[in-house]
């Protein structure tokens, strides 16, 4: 069970017009695994995770999520998106809905569960991210850190098999980074499969099973955090780590 493959990307190529964003990417993620993706901006790390729930289409290669091959059919995209939760850099909460409504909408519409059940689930996950008392507020009334925790709860309400995080702390004021990272660490400790695009190397050390370094649309190097940080193999990795660790 622990070794079951949840996501398998093979030979994935992605172009934006003439620009190649992903070059022959292979990635296998097992159930329960925590992966941190890092790399300079424009290296394709966000694009990679956005391909997993088909926010971006790929031109070549294959992606299989939880046994379902992702193709162009609406059915396949549906099935995969039900299994994959995503948290964005800019939160993307629905501003015209309360926190509770934000969390209830997708389970009601996409999973077709009852309102009562959706509300109970929403409340449960809001409490889990320590924001249960803010359920009736609108996103604009919350701090950035609180909004991002709501976004995490909203994704969890769909009971995904894997969570994708696209630079979840990059848009936050420094004093709010910790509360979001703590939430993510809690999630990791509960056994959630996670792929995180982040520059928080402390988080990577603490949580990741594997750290993957990308540059120019390719996976350059990967390894367990210890080895990765202590003994990076490629010059580009060394250079990147040198730059990023100097700032932390």
């Amino acid at each position: 069970m622990q070794d079951q493959i949840l996501i398998e990307m093979k030979g994935v190529q992605k172009w934006y017009g003439g620009y190649q964003a992903l070059r022959n990417v292979d990635l296998t993620v097992r159930r329960g695994e925590k992966i941190v993706l890092c790399g300079p901006s424009g290296s394709g790390k966000s694009t990679l995770i956005r391909c997993i729930n088909r926010l971006e289409a790929i031109q070549q290669g294959s992606i299989v999520v939880n046994g379902h091959r992702l193709d162009d059919s609406i059915k396949a995209i549906d099935v995969v998106r039900q299994d994959v939760g995503m948290v964005f850099q800019s939160f993307n909460l629905f501003p015209h809905m309360t926190v509770l409504q934000n969390c209830m909408l997708a389970p009601i519409r996409a999973r077709r569960i009852s309102k009562t059940e959706a509300e109970a689930t929403a409340q449960k996950y809001l409490e889990r991210v320590h924001i249960g008392d803010q359920a009736e507020k609108y996103p604009a009334q919350l701090s950035g850190g609180q909004q991002q925790r709501v976004a995490i709860a909203r994704a969890l309400c769909m009971q995904p098999k894997v969570m994708l995080f696209d630079e979840p702390t990059s848009a936050l004021d420094p004093e709010m980074v910790k509360e979001v990272l703590d939430t993510m660490i809690g999630l990791a400790n509960d056994g959630m499969t996670m792929i995180c695009v982040t520059h928080e190397m402390g988080f990577a050390r603490q949580v990741a099973d594997r750290v993957i370094f990308m540059a120019e649309g390719q996976i350059i190097e990967e390894g367990a955090p210890d080895a990765f940080f202590r003994n990076p193999q490629h010059t580009r990795t060394k250079q990147f780590l040198g730059e990023i660790l100097a700032h932390h």
């Binding site: 909408l105 997708a106 519409r109 996409a110």
Partner: protein
Amino acid sequence: MTPHFGLPEFGFLMRGLQWTVLLTLVAFVGGCTAGLIVALLRTCGRTTVEWIVRIYIGIFQGTPLLLQLFVVYYGLALLGLKLSAFVAVAIGFTVNASAFLGEIWRGAIQAVPRGQTEAAMALGLHYSSRMRDIVLPQAIRIALPATIGYLVQLIKGTSLAAIVGFIELARAGQIVSNQIYQPLLVFGVVGAMYFILCWPLSWWGSRVEARLALAAQR
């Protein structure tokens, strides 16, 4: 006794006002319904459909409304479809409004941040739910000031309906004025009636706009 501006004349103007209001309502409700379809088709992501709708919008925005009313009233009659003046102008104004409102709402739909749609897609929401629950509620707020502005234009624009013999407020004013030879007085009253209809709407529109600007700052 020379004719003067009395109760019967005023009553005649009031009936004209009623027709103006009725025509506006029919055209606005019809235009909103059709305009929503236009806006959705215009943003559906299928190139062919979007181009067809673009041409539709182009035709109705690029030719005079007067001409469009002629075509509906006289053109359809030539084809054997004889419509009453009211039905003809109601159709003409509805179709015209659908093009203008469609463009206003197309802009509003596209002004909703892309991240909203992406978050909805990532949550597994389908197109209908993404539009109904996420995009349109936000787009309507964005489009409200421009929509109210268009409604004000529409109220005043209905005076064009007189051209095919429909007696609305402006035409009623002309008739009364011709009878009593007091154009300044009659058109003064007519103008005041239009003003009472339009001014509160304009005022509401600018209030909504100010409120939205304030909300955007937060």
